[in-house]
Subunit: 282 residues, 2 copies
């Protein structure tokens, strides 16, 4: 069993719509569990609930779209995930999921709430798709392994990934952001081929695109919506991030992912908070 499959495993709770699990420190980014991993956990729970729902007539085993709102940061340790099936249709089944953890007084604190639809992406025709970016081969890209050890110690999530950034969009790591608002690279999860649930995490796995705009502070995800468009082929994923609009303490981050065959498999847009350092503002 891969690290990812082990970490995302859920225990049955009391009732069809309640499961429990434990967030591992291995999937932390800074002081919080990676938001993409929290989303993949929520999708796993909702998928398991749907699979046992009597109204679910068809094999809607692939997440197709998810919109997640992050209220508070997830911490390592136990969590509960509650799910509700809203509608089972012919093409899509839709439900809601909430991840919570006990606060200091034992009362549950909601970390993330999301609505998501599942469908079946087994046979997908393509009428039009955006072109995958030209990237140098992975061995000529910048690996996270090259980052300073003291940085990596706070970004344990990066150890779960093989991430190779296009040198043209990694200048921020050397203090020279391109200021274009673009980050591109190759991505794999160690010991695990991608599937449609893992793609939702992959959409939120690269460094924040804010870094390429010289914004190095924390950019918390407020809302994240991902569309999964195809089951990915095994191998490297190509991920491209961009942002066009920064202002009012917020920015959008758009992500697209192509699989090893060059097929567009997922895309997302998230709204992030932006804290501009006083040095930049002043």
């Amino acid at each position: 069993m891969s690290d990812y499959d082990d970490a995302i495993r859920l225990d049955a709770g009391d009732g069809a719509g309640r499961r429990t699990g434990t967030f591992s420190e291995d999937w932390m980014i800074g002081n919080a569990v990676n938001g993409g991993f929290v989303m993949a956990t929520g999708l796993t729970a909702l998928g398991q609930h749907l699979a046992t729902d009597p109204a679910e007539q068809t094999a809607h085993s692939d997440p197709v779209v998810m919109s997640a709102y992050f209220m508070t940061a997830s911490a390592p340790g136990p969590f509960a995930v509650t799910t509700e099936v809203m509608r089972c249709g012919r093409k899509l089944s839709t439900g809601q999921v909430s991840v919570s953890q006990a606060g200091p007084d034992g009362e549950p604190i909601e970390r993330m709430r999301a609505i998501a639809s599942f469908g079946n992406l087994e046979h997908v025709d393509t009428l039009k798709q955006s072109t995958p970016p030209d990237l140098p081969p992975p061995e000529r890209c910048v690996s996270a392994d090259e980052a300073p050890p003291e940085f990596l110690a706070t970004m344990r999530f990066l150890e779960r990934l093989d991430l190779r950034l296009d040198p043209a969009t990694a200048g921020w790591a050397l203090g020279k952001p391109s200021m274009k608002g673009q980050i591109r690279g190759w991505l794999r999860v160690h010991d695990r081929e991608p599937d449609t649930t893992l793609l939702m995490m992959a959409l939120d796995s690269l460094p924040p695109v804010a870094f390429d705009l010289g914004i190095l502070g924390w950019t918390p995800t407020l809302e994240f919506t991902g569309h999964i468009r195809r089951r990915p082929a095994p191998g490297w994923l190509r991920v491209s991030l961009s942002s066009e609009n920064v202002g009012g303490g917020m920015m959008e981050e758009d992500a697209s992912i192509w699989d090893s065959t060059g097929a567009l498999v997922a895309q997302s847009r998230q709204l992030c908070g932006v804290r501009i350092s006083s040095g930049r503002n002043g």
Copy 2:
């Protein structure tokens, strides 16, 4: 009172989180109430609930982000809207909203469920923004008034708007789509200047971008997420739609809106279902 303000008026229901209203035929598009109008209705209810919530400390009067899932089409007639306040934070307050209508047996059928966050967009700085599209002046664009009367009779929503499409992206109306997947135009609501709630509707008010790809069938919105970034100045809005990825019976539609000063005020991405006619497939 403008037609829009009259149509979106809600009656207090029993309890803080329940309101009722009536969808008018005037806001229908085809056989359903326009989805953007349903979203604006949901935002209005959630905004009213937040304004009276004791946990709400600050004036979070502007919708900032909304993710809506459409389960069934809304019909003219009475509806109920239930709201839940999830979290009141310093910068954002987040809640959930559900719009339902009574089915043939009197049981409620959920039309739309959404999560949304409110904030305050009174003072917004701009660090980076996408460039508004170059459009011919409104008087040299194609007005919906020029469409055949039998078409307009099924699109009553269009009578509420002053919509002027760039001739370069209106060829589909004459059977000559550009096949680029782009529609651009000027938009106003009659007798009403835009505000941040109205912008959410405006993001879903143009003809489907699918038309410019030669896809003239119904493209139902499955999921819609809009980001409101600024309070709009009075006057014309410039709206630009695009789509890059069509396949597997689905497509995304991205929208951006700039106000009369050229400021980016809103953007959205939605996932639509696509029914390709057998003529095109065969």
